[in-house]
Symmetry: C2
Subunit: 164 residues, 2 copies
DNA sequence: CTGAATCTCTTTAAGCTTCAAGCAATTTGG
DNA sequence: CCAAATTGCTTGAAGCTTAAAGAGATTCAG
C-alpha cells in the first residue's frame, strides 16, 4: 500500500518558503530602486516616474504610437494611460493626432519640447542607474540578466496557464 | 600633455546601457509578478495587494506593531499606512490601541478574524508564488537570492550616498 | 449587407500613494 | 524647568492605478 506522502492524494502543505523569500527579495530590490529613482526625478526635474516612463516609451519611436501600444508596453491599464497622456499633452510634452484610416486610434508623439526635456532627464537617469548597480561585477550583471529572463518566462507561463 | 579621455576632466558620456537594461528587466519581472498576484488576490479573496501586504507584516508578530514600524517595513509613506489601517480596522481585520507609556503611539494588531482570513490567503498565495517561480532550479533560486542581496546592498549604498 | 463581435479609447468609482504641512506628545540640551 | 528639536501620527491636495462599464468605429461571419 502506498503512503499519502507518496501518492499526493492528500494535499500536504509543501515547503515553498524559498520561492516566497525570493519573491520578497525581488520586490524589496525593485521597491528600493524605484523609490530612489522616483525621488531623484522629482528632486532634480520635478517630474513623476510614470510620466518619465511614458516619455521613455515614446522616445524609442520617431512617429509615435497608439494608446494601446503604450498601455501594453508600460504594463498598465488603458484608462491609466488616458490620464497620463492627457496631463502630458496639457503640459506641452506630447502631441496627439487621430489616425486617418481608423478613427478610433490616436497616435501619440513627443513634441520637440518633450523630446528635448526627456533626453536631458534620460542622460542623468542613466548615470543614477549605473551608480545604483555599481557594486555588481560584469559577471554578476550578465548572470542576473539571464536569471531574470528565466524568471520572466516562468512567470508568463504561470500567468498564461491561469488565463488561457 | 594628457588627453581628456584619460583625465576625465571632460565628462564623456559613458556606456551604462547594460545597467539600464538590467534595471528594466528587473522592473518588468516585478511588475509582471505583482500584477499576477494582485489579480489572483482580487479574484480569489476580493482583497487588494496593499491590504494583504500589511496583514502579512502583522502576522509575523503576535502583539502588533506601530504605524511607523509598518511604514518602514512596507517601505511606504506614513500617511499611506494611516489610510490602509483605517480601512482594515473598519472591516474588522485590525485592532488598534494607544500605547500607555507614549500617547502618540498606536499599536496595531490583527484581530482573530483578520488573522484567520490572512492565514487562509497566505497559504494559497504561497502556492501561487511557487508556481510562478516553478521553472527555476534550486541553483537558480539560490543564485538569484545571492545576486539580489548584492543588488540591494548596492542600491542602499547609492541611496545613502545621496542622502547622508 | 447586416448583425454580432471586436477593438480603441474614455469615463467613473474606489482605492492607493506621495509629499508637505500640521498637531500633539515626548525627548533633549541648556 | 523650559524652549527647541524630534517623534508619531494625521490631514489635504494632487496624482497614480485598477476594474468595470460604456461609446464609437471597425471587422467579420453568414
Amino acid at each position: 500500500m502506498m503512503l499519502d506522502s507518496e501518492t499526493k492524494a492528500v494535499e500536504l502543505p509543501e515547503d515553498h518558503g524559498t520561492e516566497l523569500r525570493l519573491w520578497l527579495r525581488l520586490l524589496t530590490c525593485t521597491t528600493l530602486i524605484e523609490g530612489e529613482v522616483r525621488s531623484r526625478l522629482r528632486e532634480r526635474f520635478d517630474v513623476t516616474l510614470p510620466r518619465f516612463d511614458l516619455m521613455a516609451q515614446l522616445d524609442k519611436v520617431p512617429d509615435g504610437m497608439t494608446l494601446s501600444d503604450l498601455s501594453k508596453r508600460m504594463m498598465v491599464s488603458n484608462g491609466n494611460v488616458t490620464g497620463l497622456v492627457e496631463r502630458l499633452v496639457e503640459s506641452g510634452h506630447l502631441d496627439r493626432r487621430t489616425s486617418e484610416t481608423d478613427r478610433r486610434v490616436q497616435f501619440i508623439r513627443l513634441t520637440k519640447l518633450g523630446r528635448a526635456e526627456f533626453r536631458k532627464m534620460a542622460a542623468e537617469h542613466e548615470t543614477w542607474i549605473a551608480d545604483i548597480f555599481a557594486d555588481l561585477s560584469r559577471k554578476d550583471i550578465s548572470e542576473l540578466m539571464r536569471l531574470l529572463a528565466k524568471t520572466k518566462a516562468s512567470a508568463q507561463r504561470s500567468a498564461k496557464a491561469r488565463t488561457p
